[in-house]
């Protein structure tokens, strides 16, 4: 059973597992097959009453379908099982994934423990990846560590000379004593600076190390939906960012104002109410939406990624400029985005960048402990903000959506970035991975 964090996907998984037809389940739950179809594709939220009806018809506890604390338990167990299966040697017993319900009901304490441990493992793995990424790209950290290693190297060699050389000349002994003293001071200062740096960056582990990250933190808190800008008479951008704690730097506030201006233009071009209605009819197909709304693809991409929660399936969005640098990141659950450095060159985003004005639709499989599929739409558009004599500015965008239910399409194997990608034999790899082993 594939993993998913969404109730609708769980309903569908359970129904298929027991071989029940969609129409039969809909009838049993007292809803239309069309509505059940929307639920199963996570386009409709499920209320408590309906959840109970669906669970009853599927013969499972509601907690097995619901999102929240209980479902997190099931999610954790599935993830732990999937990780074990992918790392298992031939002949090793595999966990009985189909009997998770039974395991949880018979051994709730052990089940909770396994899920908690899985959460810790996943968290530690993310920390290791992030720290490795940071070490490779953080000049201060790199310089500090170099200082520490240099002092330790000198101390080790000099101390060993003093300890092991019996006939050392007095002038050499004096010199080495002085060196040991200086190096010990140097080491303690370097270590103190390193600890202070790591402590301060731990405070900022929310990641606010760049203006872009400050803006992303602000947007994440707003769930990327700026309701004030949906009204006809939207307030000035400055009033929306005044006193926002995440936007600490002037550069971040400038970026935020630019985002607000673009959001406002998109909201005027694609009014929320009408956009929602068309989305209801067409589904999250950007081309169909753009055609119906009479706009280009790029505003539709951004609009899909800024809808209020529940109006669309979880949508991620990334954008890059002509250099490939990521300029916007709205994560989609399970789709890893690199925090530092460049992303995977196999993302359809970059194919779109190389082929301006050509819409690209691709199903991708993101590498990871549990590889996950996604449907992506990518598009890039050249602009000439400086007029005929100015440079061409290209921006590419990629929408990240839940995968299509049918598995027929060829999936492109991708990763987050080379450094944390386990695909050892990738032809597009530009640097070795820090992760041991391959796929």
């Amino acid at each position: 059973m594939p993993r998913s964090a969404l109730t609708g996907t769980r309903v569908r998984e359970r129904r298929l597992l027991i071989g029940m037809k969609q129409a039969d389940l809909a009838r049993a739950a007292g809803i239309s097959p069309a509505y059940l179809n929307l639920i199963e594709h996570n386009r409709r939220r499920v209320g408590a009453e309906l959840l109970a009806a669906l669970a009853g018809a599927l013969g499972v506890e509601e907690t097995a379908l619901a999102e929240g604390a209980e479902s997190a338990l099931f999610e954790g167990l599935r993830e732990a099982a999937a990780g074990l299966v992918s790392g298992a040697s031939a002949g090793e017993a595999e966990p009985e994934i189909g009997r998770i319900d039974e395991f949880v009901s018979r051994f709730p304490g052990w089940a909770a423990l396994v899920a908690v441990q899985q959460g810790r493992v996943a968290s530690l793995e993310r920390s290791v990846e992030a720290l490795n990424e940071r070490m490779a790209h953080d000049p201060f950290l790199s310089a500090s560590l170099h200082e520490v290693v240099s002092a330790v190297t000198s101390l080790r060699s000099t101390a060993a000379i003093l300890a092991e050389t019996e006939d050392i000349a007095p002038d050499w002994r004096e010199r080495f004593h002085a060196n040991v003293f200086e190096d010990s001071i140097r080491l303690s200062e370097a270590a103190a600076a390193l600890v202070a740096y790591l402590d301060s960056s731990k405070e900022a582990e929310t990641g606010l190390s760049s203006p872009q990250e400050e803006v992303e933190a602000w947007l994440a808190r707003a769930q990327h939906h700026l309701a004030a800008l949906e009204r006809g008479t939207a307030p000035p951008g400055e009033s929306l960012i005044a006193g926002v704690p995440e936007l600490a730097s002037g550069a971040a506030r400038k970026l935020a104002l630019a985002h607000i201006a673009r959001y406002r233009a998109d909201a005027v071009a694609l009014p929320l109410e009408r956009f929602a209605r068309v989305l209801e009819e067409e589904g999250p197909d950007p081309a169909a939406l753009a055609r119906r709304m009479g706009t280009g693809l790029a505003p539709v991409f951004r609009r899909l990624a800024s809808l209020p929660e529940g109006m669309a399936p979880p949508v991620g969005l990334v954008a890059c400029d002509a250099s490939g640098t990521l300029t916007f990141r709205k994560p989609a659950p399970g789709f890893a985005l690199p925090r530092h450095g460049a992303a995977c060159p196999l993302w359809p985003l970059y194919e779109a960048l190389a082929r301006p004005m050509v819409p690209i639709r691709a199903v991708v499989e993101m590498a990871g402990r549990v590889p996950q599929r996604f449907l992506t739409y990518a598009f890039s558009e050249p602009r000439h903000p400086g007029g005929f004599d100015g440079p061409q500015v290209v921006e590419a965008q990629m929408l990240i959506l839940p995968p299509p239910e049918q598995r027929g399409e060829v999936e492109r194997p991708i990763g987050a970035s080379c450094r944390i990608c386990p695909r050892a034999d990738c032809a597009a790899r530009r640097e070795p991975s820090i992760l041991a082993g391959g796929e």
Binding site: T153, L155, R156, T165, P432
Partner: protein, 122 residues
């Protein structure tokens, strides 16, 4: 005159310790602490063995090694690369560029002396 080693290392205390160790082992030691003109010093000194730090002011040790291997008069010079990084990919990169020996910091005194002796024999 004993075997000649040139030490390209910008950390003066490390260079001093190595100089002491190698001098006692019978080497004639010259040292230099800057990467930018290191190639000039190497050509002038013509050592039997070169100890080359990776992280140098002015120019990377790897960069120097690359130029050295491209020079027919220096291509065969045994080079011990000193690096603070110990990952396999760093070792692989050093070998690929042409290091004869790769040693990570901090190193043991006996270890570096033994490595230089061995390199001088080959």
């Amino acid at each position: 005159m004993g075997r000649r080693v040139l030490l390209i290392e910008d950390e003066p205390h490390i260079a001093e310790a190595i100089r002491f160790l190698l001098t006692r082992d019978g080497w004639t030691v010259a040292s230099h602490g800057d990467g930018s003109d290191a190639m000039d010093v190497i050509r002038r000194e013509v050592p039997d063995v070169l100890v080359l730090d990776v992280k140098l002011p002015g120019r990377s040790g790897y960069d120097i090694l690359g130029e050295l291997r491209a020079d027919p008069t220096l291509a065969a010079l045994p080079v011990l690369v000193l690096s603070a990084r110990s990952r396999q990919e760093d070792r692989d990169m050093a070998a690929e560029i042409g290091a004869s020996h790769f040693m990570t910091k901090p190193f043991g005194n006996a270890e570096i002396v033994a490595a230089l002796r061995q390199m001088a024999q080959t």
